[in-house]
């Protein structure tokens, strides 16, 4: 009986002290972590929308969506973080779109765990740059082993076809979701521009 009590007491005391200590550290760290996350998102928005000077989070949709404005306050388009499955895990990208959601301004890879040296090339300019100013109407297509012949096509990376196709799929998925929301709610677009 005595030993059971001492076991309970020891573990309880350690647990309470640990919990208290962690609460203190956490209350210091949480605002900093939130600020870091915000800074990372902000940086990605300005990378995909070079003309942007300001942005606003759209509250009318369930997912994250940012409407971006140039220096005189005109809406220049959207920045849409979207994720999907890559070759080895989740890929998260930021898609920059023109105001009519018909043209991609640029994309930026936020998170990926692709094969180093092969799949990771999706984040490098030879591939990523293909999306700059790419018409995405009705959607983006990919070609393998040859330079693109049509306007809305990108060429996949040799040795990383799955990763390349994953990016195209994520872009198309995100854009079609955004378009259906834009079409169904005209007031949503108005609401964001205030």
């Amino acid at each position: 009986m005595k030993i059971i009590l001492s076991m309970l007491a020891t573990l309880s005391v350690i647990g309470i002290v640990s919990g208290g200590g962690l609460a203190m550290v956490s209350s210091w760290a949480d605002p900093l972590i939130a600020a870091n996350k915000k800074a990372a998102t902000e940086q990605a928005i300005f990378q995909v929308q070079t003309a942007a000077k300001d942005y606003k989070k759209m509250e009318s949709v369930e997912y994250e969506l940012y409407k971006v404005f140039d220096e005189s306050g005109n809406a220049v388009g959207y920045a849409l973080p979207w994720e999907g499955n890559g070759f080895q895990g989740k890929i998260r990208i930021m898609i920059g779109l023109s105001a009519d959601a018909a043209t991609i301004t640029a994309i930026e890879i936020l998170e990926q765990v692709e094969t180093p040296g092969l799949g990771t090339k999706i984040a490098e300019d030879p591939f990523r740059g293909q999306f700059e100013g790419l018409p995405a109407d009705p959607q983006v297509d990919w070609v393998k082993g040859a330079p693109p012949t049509r306007e809305n096509e990108v060429q996949t990376i040799t040795g990383a076809t799955i990763s390349s196709k994953a990016i195209v799929a994520i872009v198309n998925d995100g854009i079609s979701q955004l378009r259906s929301d834009l079409a169904s709610g005209e007031d949503m677009a108005q609401g964001g521009a205030q």
């Binding site: 001492s6 573990l11 962690l22 760290a29 972590i33 870091n36 996350k37 094969t115 180093p116 040296g117």
Partner: protein
């Protein structure tokens, strides 16, 4: 039984003779998984050393209060607390590094190096010795992860600590940044170190034998030398 180990040896044993990675083969998960670059290896080793040192100190201080039946549970609680602190601090102050090391920071909780040292050393020794032991093990871990990360980074991405050290003509060995590269480099490093150790032991033995065999002659030579000086 009282230990007859000097404080200095308490520290140095972890650095070399009982190196956690090369000799005890502990902490393999972080040693293999995060060492794609020297910086990652060093950061991981520093985080582990921090957790190891502070948990050792606390556990060694309260070692007489913890009932033996719940000692492992208590150790894990204390270790997990320090790991969470490291995780929070890294995410707050070094977001880039924290992203890179990702899930491996929380996994320090179950690093067998840390739990092993608590069970084998801190729970049986004074706080001073426990801290020295932890710092030594941490230094050994740092040397191992730093060199492993360095080798993989130089061969796999031509850089060291982010600076290019290999010419562009050198084609990076992609395999070195892939998991297979970790096994290859660790295996070769361990083999090389063991080989050097065996050679050193062999030489020491030969010298010992030779000294015994040449004892009379040597003392004579020694005497002559002394004479010629005076």
């Amino acid at each position: 039984m009282k230990k007859q180990v000097t404080l200095f040896t308490e520290y140095t044993k972890g650095v070399w003779d009982q190196n956690p990675v090369f000799k005890q083969v502990l902490g393999m998960c972080p040693a293999l998984a995060v060492t794609v670059s020297a910086m990652n290896g060093i950061a991981m080793a520093l985080a582990t050393t921090f957790v190891l040192t502070f948990s050792s100190l606390i556990i060694s201080l309260i070692r007489k209060v913890i009932p033996t039946q719940v000692r492992i549970a208590s150790f894990i609680l204390i270790i997990a607390t320090f790991v969470t602190i490291v995780d929070l601090v890294m995410r707050a102050q070094f977001p880039a590094l924290s992203k890179e090391l990702g899930p491996y920071i929380p996994l320090i909780v179950v690093n067998c190096l840390i739990l092993g040292r608590q069970e084998a050393f801190s729970s049986k020794n004074t706080p001073g010795r426990a801290v020295l032991d932890s710092l030594g093990m941490g230094t050994g871990f740092l040397i191992a992860l730093g060199s492993l990360g360095g080798i993989r980074e130089i061969l796999g991405s031509r850089t060291f600590l982010g600076l290019q050290v290999m010419p562009n003509a050198f084609d990076p060995w992609l395999v070195m940044i892939l998991p297979a590269g970790a096994f290859l480099s660790l295996g070769l490093m361990m083999g090389f170190l063991n080989h050097m150790n065996l050679r050193r032991k062999d030489r020491e033995e030969r010298e010992l034998v030779a000294r015994h065999l040449q004892e009379p002659k040597m003392s004579l030579e020694h005497g002559e030398e002394v004479k010629s000086w005076s």
